[in-house]
Structures are given as structure tokens and as C-alpha cells.
């Protein structure tokens, strides 16, 4: 079933891709006989039967994950998206601190070690990267560090 759902989604994407390749992509003029549209057309046309094949003959029936695991994974994705969202405005130190704390606690760290670890990664990471390796990381609201 899982295979079928995934292949079904890919199938829809492939259909959309192929339609765009046949209708939208067009150069005002070109010097090669293929143009920008031929290659995507070929890819689209080949991928559709592949998806159909998996729809017809799936080999993975279920992902076999309990509901609790799904919950954990959803929480992880939310954390990652929030981390991405906060990374620039809040700055590396604070965003990383919050993210590491949340994730390490979810994975079973004790509060004290989690706090120490997250603060350590945020602060040490920032200074090692910006001062030692000259990488560019956002200072965010902690403007004194930039």
C-alpha cells in the first residue's frame, strides 16, 4: 500500500512534469535540433510507465511504523522547519540552542545535560565557525556578536 501511495503521488508529479514539458517549455529560437523541451519530454514519458509498474506491482506493503514513531517524526519535521524559519531572524546561537534543546529532550536527554549541550553547541559552534573558520552565520537578535 505504501508503495502504491508513493508511486501514485510520483505518477501525478510525472504527469504534471510531462504536460509542462509538452506545453510550456519553448525557446524563442534555438541552434540545436532538440531544444529545451525534448529532454524533459523523454524523462516524463519514461517515468510514467515506471510509476504505473510500481502501482501495479508494489513490493513494500507498509512502512511498519507505530503511531508513536510517526508522531516523533512529525515533531522532528516541525522542529526542522521552525529551525529553518528562525535561523536568520533569531540568529544562529538562539535558534540552535532552542532546536538542540527540543530535539535532545525528545530523544531522551535529561534537562540539565540537554541545556548544557544546546548552549555549548550554539555558542561554541558560532564562535568556532565565525571567528576561526570565517564562515558566515547569522547573529540575529544578538547583535553584539557580529
Amino acid at each position: 500500500m505504501a508503495d502504491r501511495i508513493f508511486a501514485g503521488v510520483l505518477f501525478l508529479v510525472a504527469i504534471g512534469y510531462t504536460i509542462i514539458a509538452f506545453t510550456v517549455i519553448r525557446a524563442p529560437f534555438q541552434y540545436d535540433p532538440l531544444g529545451p523541451e525534448s529532454w524533459p519530454r523523454i524523462l516524463g514519458i519514461v517515468s510514467i510507465p515506471c510509476c504505473l509498474f510500481i502501482l501495479a506491482k508494489p513490493d513494500v506493503s507498509s512502512l511498519g511504523l507505530p503511531a508513536k514513531t510517526w508522531g516523533r517524526l512529525a515533531a522532528l519535521i516541525v522542529m526542522l522547519l521552525v529551525y529553518s524559519y528562525l535561523f536568520q531572524p533569531l540568529g544562529f546561537i538562539l535558534a540552535t540552542f532552542a532546536f538542540c534543546l527540543a530535539l535532545s529532550l525528545m530523544l531522551g536527554a535529561r534537562l540539565v545535560t540537554g541545556l548544557a549541550f544546546s548552549a555549548g553547541i550554539g555558542i561554541v559552534g558560532y564562535f568556532v565557525c565565525t571567528k576561526l573558520l570565517e564562515l558566515n552565520l547569522p547573529a540575529g537578535v544578538l547583535t553584539i556578536f557580529r
Binding site: 534555438q30 527540543a102 537578535v141
Partner: protein, 322 residues
């Protein structure tokens, strides 16, 4: 439960306000709208080193690749329209993109052009043992049959590299659509193609030829400049003097958001004007393979807008846009 509390605390932090931009140039920053290492990087390095003495703090260079500058122009038209600290590097390629609508809704009137870093010119280059020893030889062959010569450059159809070929053909009323043009991924690969014999003519820049002058492997048939260039290119004729009305300057410079306060804008203009007067600036520009072109402020803004208009005209003639 603990988890839920944490997650909500985590989310709450997202509502911390973003600090407002200061109104003065206190953290100068040059944005190179590309990956490190390219021409935009170089343009920013000129500002960084050339304006070192004009500002209190050092100027930062940041990279913002994506859509050959589309990401940067988008950002400066949505969120950072009045950022007084940031200047964005651009080139003739960016102007061409504005002219041909490659930046979507954003055009030349959506930014405020600030100053130039320098300029370069297009060049028509062949291998040393090419049958085309002069631009006249090449043009004669092209006029007879535009598809008889395989030409190439480092950019796609419609890029400024292609435009060099197109305007040269246009000068003798040859249709650019009839030529044979090969698009390489950057000048390095195109030069390899020329030396390896895949293409016969390469449309490059005068600046990048500095490292190849004197090796005797390639020759420049003509520079697409209004007048002869200084050494080591003093012997290279211009297309103009050979009777072909083809000119392709490659200007490099900086723009800012269109809502930047006039105080901040003029502070930047003054900084550039002060730098233009120094010998350091002149050597800096020369070391980076550019020729001097010192324009800034409103005069420069108007000049760039005129260039965009002219490019739009050429693009329309060449059939790139309707």
C-alpha cells in the same frame, strides 16, 4: 507533555521581533548575487578593498546565488527595499536580464543604480592558426553563409555572450538566428572548446584574455569597444574602426534598493567619489582585469537605465523578446 510545552515554547520564540534597520550606513555590506568565485564576487571585492578607508567598519561580502541575480533583486524589492547598508553587485548581464524580462516583474526602475566598479569589452577571438586572420575574413565568410562558421561562448542563447555575436552579425544585416552558436558553461570551457577545435570563433571578454596574451595560442580579431584599449591590447583593432558598428561594453557596478533614503544614498555616492580619486582604486580596478569607468550617483543611474533600454531594443530586433 513535557514535549508539548517545549514545542510551544520553541514556537513562541518565533514571534520575537526582528530588529529594524538602522538609518545610517553603519554596517556596509556588498551582496554578490552568485556563488563565491565569480565575477560578482570580484565586483564586491573591489568595493570591499576600494572603500576600506571610507567607512568605519570593514565591509562584509555576502553571497546570494539564485537565478543569475533574480533572488537578490527579488529580495531588494520585497523586504530590503530601504536597507541603507547593502549594495548589490551587477553587470551588463543583469541589465540584459532586466531588459528581456528575465527577472519577472522587476526591471531597471525597481532598483537605484549607485556606482560603477569598472568596465570590460567583448572580444572576437580565434585560434592563432585560424583561417580567419582578420575580422574582415570572418565577416566575409559569415555574410556568404552564416552557418559556415561554428561560433561559441560561455553563455546561453540570449545571454550577453550571445549578444556579442548577434550585434556583430546585425551590423551587416545577417540574421543571428541563422548562425551556428554553441553555448558552453562558462568562459573556461568555451576557451577549451576553441583550443580543442570544437568551435572556430569564441566571443569572450578582453579582460579574460590578459592571461592568454603572449602565449601565442589565440588572437583577438577585434575588441567591441568604442576606441582602442591600453596595453597589452593597443594593437587590437576595434570593430568600429574596421567598419562594423558593433560595441559591447561589460559594465560592472552596484545598485541599492529603490526606497533607500537620500542621505544613505548620497553617503555611498560620496564614498565612491572619494575612492575614484585615489591611485589605489585605479590599481585595484586594473588588477581585477577591468578598465576604469568612474560613474556614480544620479548620472550613473540614468546612464544604466539608458543602457537597459538600448539592450531591450537589440533583443527585440534579434527576436529574443516580442
Amino acid at each position: 507533555m513535557k514535549l508539548l510545552n517545549l514545542a510551544s515554547a520553541f514556537l513562541l520564540t518565533s514571534f520575537v521581533a526582528v530588529p529594524a534597520f538602522a538609518q545610517d550606513v553603519d554596517r556596509p555590506e556588498c551582496i554578490a548575487p552568485a556563488q563565491p568565485g565569480g565575477g560578482f564576487d570580484l565586483t564586491c571585492r573591489i568595493a570591499q578593498q576600494g572603500l576600506e578607508k571610507q567607512f568605519n567598519g570593514p565591509m562584509a561580502v555576502t553571497f546570494m546565488p539564485g537565478g543569475i541575480g533574480a533572488v537578490a533583486i527579488n529580495l531588494f524589492n520585497t523586504t530590503r527595499t530601504d536597507d541603507p547598508n547593502a549594495i548589490v553587485a551587477f553587470s551588463s548581464g543583469s541589465l540584459l536580464n532586466m531588459a528581456t524580462g528575465k527577472y519577472g516583474e522587476w526591471g531597471a526602475n525597481d532598483v537605484r543604480f549607485l556606482a560603477t566598479a569598472g568596465t570590460d569589452y567583448g572580444a572576437v577571438i580565434v585560434k592563432a592558426d585560424s583561417p580567419y586572420q582578420t575580422l574582415g575574413d570572418l565577416m566575409a565568410a559569415l555574410e556568404k553563409d552564416p552557418a559556415s562558421v561554428v561560433m561559441g561562448a560561455g553563455g546561453s542563447v540570449g545571454s550577453q555572450d550571445w549578444m556579442k555575436a548577434a550585434i556583430l552579425l546585425k551590423s551587416k544585416d545577417v540574421d543571428p538566428k541563422k548562425m551556428r552558436y554553441v553555448a558552453f558553461d562558462g568562459g573556461g570551457e568555451a576557451i577549451a572548446g576553441l583550443l580543442g577545435g570544437s568551435i572556430q570563433v569564441y566571443f569572450g571578454d578582453v579582460g579574460e584574455m590578459v592571461s592568454h596574451v603572449g602565449t601565442g595560442e589565440m588572437r583577438i580579431l577585434a575588441a567591441l569597444s568604442p576606441e582602442r584599449l591600453p596595453d597589452p591590447f593597443a594593437d587590437v583593432p576595434t570593430a568600429q574602426e574596421l567598419g562594423y558598428d558593433a560595441e559591447w561594453p561589460i559594465v560592472r557596478g552596484y545598485y541599492m534598493g529603490k526606497n533607500v533614503s537620500s542621505e544613505a544614498y548620497s553617503q555611498w555616492v560620496e564614498a565612491f567619489k572619494a575612492a575614484y580619486g585615489t591611485d589605489e582604486w585605479a590599481t585595484l580596478v586594473k588588477d581585477k582585469g577591468l578598465l576604469p569607468l568612474n560613474l556614480s550617483g544620479e548620472e550613473m543611474d540614468a546612464d544604466m537605465k539608458k543602457r537597459v533600454e538600448r539592450m531591450a531594443g537589440i533583443a527585440k530586433e534579434a527576436g529574443l523578446i516580442e
